[in-house]
């Protein structure tokens, strides 16, 4: 089915082809009849060998041969010569079949099946493998089989590692050898085998090895992914750490008791319209085990009754980078002004573990003050029902590095300073520095630019408490790549956009935000926004959102009241690229009883249903999306009983 020319090189003799096909059909028919009737005579078995030589993909014939072997082995009663002769025959048939098609799953499996009976010398098998790998060093069946034989022979990982070195020495352009090397090396490092205990030494050696592959042919991808893996191994932070929280240590928070929304809010005054006060913990990697045993919360009005901590992750129900809970502020406690000291202790008991199995071992404490106030509403002022408009004068411009020291200080203070040694002056930094200098020699090609950009970004990740450096250079490299490699333009654009976000500090620095305007960007995803638990007003208009399934993060924003998703592409695309990154019956992540078809009109708006159904939105804008229609708006009004404004029009 692959690689045959459309116009045959010689004129086809139709009659001869038909005769050949007829002959094959007759053979197959006879074979199937033998199989059906369990006939394992010498002739019958030979017929199957003949068939497999013509067509090694005839899987039933391999099954048949196994049955024949089982019967014949039983009959010969373990006479070693007979056993050998029977199994030798099978190995020969496999070899013949492989010669016909050395990618035949059936043939390789049959060989394994025979070998598991303890026959054939393993050295012979290795010899056979060498022959196959010489013919095609990328045949993954051969590599899998090699792994199978090596296991049977109990060959050491070190020996197999040497084999990959031999293959690479023969030809650097052997992705399969690099892949196998990564598997063996991972094992050896994990086991802390002698000679593989110093990560510094191991990685330095490997960088030297793979560098040659990248420099020899700048377009050959064989070493690219291996190099990226080495980089990840170099900078990967082993320890789970708390990097940010809301509230922030030392903050002073006023909670007006009145139930109203205001156009402006400052960082210390949190307006909430429910009795639920969020606490957010933001880690540097996905962790599990955050619960009321591992995180204790004490405050004046609440003892540590079992708070339920939830991981803010759409598909994972057990682990996440960001965890949140809500404190219920009881009504009875509201006096005219009362301050409560709240203490959150994270990780003083064991239990929080990263998903890679490393225990959280840096207990942190966050203390803050809560002031509850009763603010009298002026008569006639019922701004609860006022419509929010996204006006430019609600916002002040913040340039990184501009003279707004209070704000800068505040944002910097949002980072939790862990007492972890800065790795900026260790072997990791040295390696990154060396690699960067070497790769600057390759800056005229794609992999050179991309690697330097990644190395500079990696350097920043070693010093998370400091301001990122080299940003301008990295942004320029990605811009150059967009021009150099236009097929992957969007890949470089997305990376460019991430660097821009890093300059601000990304989501862990924005946990305090209540009103956010992300309009007029080119967003198609808001992954990560679920961490902003205080968000009550969000504008996403004029972006590139393609479906309600792209808005999964909103399902976590319990405080959200005002949402603008107008002027997007919802309903314009036949293919939904976030369909499976969304909790729905399709991915078995919601129970069937949660799906209630009460809201159906003639269209099924299941995506919108799941995103919006539990939201207490008072204001929603959806105009300018292909999905909008009269029936859709009717559906929305039914789904959201709290809605006061839909597309700027008051709801009755």
């Amino acid at each position: 089915m692959h690689g045959r020319p459309r116009k045959p090189l010689k004129p086809v003799d139709e009659a001869a082809v038909a005769a050949k096909a007829e002959k094959l059909r007759a053979l197959q028919s006879e074979f199937l009849s033998n199989h059906q009737n369990k006939i394992y005579s010498k002739e019958a078995v030979e017929l199957s060998a003949k068939l497999l030589e013509i067509n090694p993909e005839l899987y039933t014939a391999w099954n048949y041969r196994k049955l024949a072997v089982q019967q014949n082995l039983a009959q010969c009663e373990s006479d070693p010569e007979s056993v050998n002769s029977i199994l030798d025959e099978e190995l020969k048939v496999v070899e013949n079949a492989l010669r016909q098609n050395f990618k035949s799953y059936g043939a390789w499996h049959h060989r394994k099946w025979v070998l598991e009976k303890g026959h054939s010398s393993m050295d012979k098998e290795l010899g056979l493998l060498d022959k196959f790998q010489a013919m095609d060093a990328r045949n993954f069946h051969a590599w899998n089989y090699r792994r199978f034989v090596a296991a049977l022979m109990k060959r050491s990982d070190e020996d197999e590692l040497e084999h990959t070195q031999n293959m690479i020495d023969k030809n650097l352009s052997n992705y399969s050898a690099w892949h196998n090397r990564s598997v063996l090396l991972s094992n050896l490092m994990k086991k802390a085998a002698p000679g593989f205990t110093s990560k510094d030494e191991v990685l330095t050696r490997e960088y030297e090895l793979v560098r040659e592959a990248l420099f020899t042919d700048e377009d050959d991808q064989s070493g690219w992914f291996y190099h990226l893996w080495l980089l990840d191994q170099t900078v990967r932070s082993e320890f789970p750490l708390l990097v940010s929280s809301w509230p922030v240590e030392g903050s002073d928070i006023s909670l007006p008791a009145a139930d109203y929304l205001d156009g402006c809010a400052s960082m210390n005054v949190f307006h909430y319209s429910s009795r639920n006060f969020p606490l957010v913990l933001y880690f540097n990697q996905s962790v599990r085990g955050v619960n009321s045993s591992t995180v204790s919360v004490s405050c004046g009005f609440n003892l540590n009754i079992d708070l339920i901590w939830k991981p803010l992750s759409s598909t994972d129900s057990q682990s996440a980078k960001v965890w949140a809970t809500h404190l219920a502020i009881p009504d009875a406690e509201l006096h005219s002004s009362e301050a409560y000291q709240v203490e959150v202790k994270v990780g003083f008991s064991q239990g929080i573990v990263s998903t890679t199995g490393v225990a959280y071992s840096h207990p942190s404490q966050i203390s803050f003050q809560l002031h509850l106030q009763k603010t009298p509403l002026e008569s006639g002022q019922d701004s609860r029902f006022g419509r929010i408009q996204w006006k430019d004068d609600c916002f002040a411009v913040y340039e990184p590095g501009s003279a707004e020291p209070d704000l800068v200080n505040l944002l910097d203070n949002l980072t939790i300073k862990n007492e972890v040694e800065s790795t900026a002056s260790t072997w990791q930094a040295r390696i990154i520095d060396d690699e960067t200098n070497i790769f600057r020699d390759l800056l005229d090609c794609k992999i050179g630019k991309l690697t330097v950009a990644r190395l500079l970004t990696a350097y920043n990740s070693l010093r998370p408490l400091d301001k990122p450096v080299h940003c301008k250079e990295v942004l320029e490299l990605y811009s150059e790549l967009m021009k150099l490699d236009p097929s992957h333009y969007q890949y470089y654009k997305d990376n460019h956009s991430l660097v821009l976000l890093q300059q601000l500090g990304s989501f862990e620095k924005l946990l305090w935000v209540q009103m956010l305007d992300l309009s007029n960007n080119e967003l198609q995803s808001i992954e990560g926004l679920e961490a902003l638990q205080l968000l009550s007003q969000l504008c996403l208009s004029n972006n590139k959102f393609r479906s309600f399934t792209a808005l999964e993060s909103l399902r976590y924003l319990k405080s959200l009241k005002v949402l603008d998703i107008s002027q997007n592409e919802i309903g314009s695309h036949s293919i939904d690229t976030t369909r499976y990154l969304f909790r729905s019956p399709l991915s078995h992540s919601v129970g069937s009883c949660d799906w209630n078809i009460n809201y159906l009109s003639s269209e099924t708006y299941w995506e919108a249903f799941f995103v919006l159904k539990d939201m207490g939105l008072t204001q929603l804008d959806v105009a300018g999306n292909a999905i909008t229609s009269k029936s859709f708006n009717v559906f929305l009004e039914k789904l959201l009983p709290t809605l006061k404004w839909l597309d700027g029009v008051e709801v009755n």
Binding site: R138, F140, W143, Q490, Y580, S587
Partner: protein, 319 residues
């Protein structure tokens, strides 16, 4: 650049279904069930499923079912999980899943001490009683049982753990632990994780880069580094990228052009590469690829179940 010669492809598929006199169809007899799925799904994506006699096909499908519950590639051949999925998918196309005794079919895939159960202790799946293990079979079991609404009959947690054990440092997946990343295996693993709500185990940025670098200068996609482009990877790579929301990382226009260039616009059908011989397998993957690229005139295909979206929605949200 040309357009999609949809009518020619429909004619080609209908003709292949009937042809018995050439060598190729004799050699591929054992996988007729797969061929039925490729051909019929393509017809549905082109809006022409009504061109075939569904009753005739369903009758034949049921003849391929064995006592154990599994389906063979053709009448008289042995049952295998590969053909069982194709059978389930074809019945789903015709909205005739009700002809199946669901318990009987699912039993052959169940995780039980029953001999017929195909799920192994480590969570992996065998293709049949002869024990070949491959993540392709994990996908098949999960996809098939999900369509039959009895996914809970297997140990999903162990199944997912096995798939994760096949994840490589490049973000991709192989056929068994330690196996090299290959677009076909990646599709199977990513789709299986998608259906079981476990995509958080995929590093989308890392795998997304590996996948988008499958696009070579000609605009076509290959299956792993330094290999030749092939139309079938327009499905394996593209559906994987779609499921992890990174499909915008390749050039859609160049890929569309490549697929259209692989058509035989005279006789119908699509081949692996321009000017190669066509076959049903590549015709399906070419059309499915165009569907994922939102090519006009082609119905939307679901990237995990590899069936038209309206068929999948009917199963999960059906009226």
């Amino acid at each position: 650049m040309g357009e999609l010669a949809a009518d020619k492809h429909v004619k080609y598929i209908l003709a292949v279904e009937k042809r018995k006199d050439n060598f190729e169809s004799a050699v591929l007899e054992h996988l007729r069930m797969n061929g039925a799925y490729w051909g019929l799904t393509t017809l549905d994506l082109l809006g022409k499923l009504d061109a075939v006699d569904s009753n005739e096909i369903i009758e034949w499908i049921l003849k391929c079912q064995h006592e154990s519950g599994g389906f063979a590639g053709n009448v008289g051949h042995d049952p295998h999980i590969l053909y069982t999925l194709s059978a389930i998918q074809v019945l789903a196309l015709f909205d005739k899943l009700n002809v199946l005794d669901v318990d009987k079919v699912s039993t052959c895939i169940l995780d039980e001490s029953d001999i017929a159960g195909l799920q192994n202790e480590d969570g992996s799946f065998s293709g049949d009683i002869w024990g070949e293990v491959d993540t392709r079979f994990s996908y098949i079991a999960i996809c098939g049982l999900s369509i039959l609404k009895c996914l809970d009959k297997i140990n999903v947690e162990r199944a997912v753990n096995y798939i994760i054990s096949c994840r490589n440092v490049d973000g991709g997946f192989g056929c068994t632990p330690g196996g090299e990343s290959h677009a076909g295996q990646i599709f199977c693993c990513v789709a299986a994780l998608a259906i079981t709500g476990a995509l958080h185990y995929v590093d989308k940025d890392l795998l997304g880069w590996w996948l988008c670098e499958r696009q070579v200068k000609s605009g076509g996609l290959n299956g792993r580094p330094e290999k030749l482009p092939d139309v079938c990877y327009s499905w394996w790579v593209l559906s994987s990228l779609t499921m992890i929301d990174r499909v915008h990382w390749i050039s859609k226009e160049k890929l569309i052009k490549f697929i259209l260039n692989c058509q035989d616009t005279e006789n119908g059908g699509i081949s692996d590469r321009p000017d190669d011989a066509v076959d049903i397998f590549h015709t399906y993957f070419g059309v499915a690829g165009l569907s994922l690229l939102e090519y006009p005139g082609v119905k939307a295909v679901d990237p995990a179940y590899a069936l038209p979206v309206d068929v999948v929605d009917r199963i999960f949200f059906g009226k």
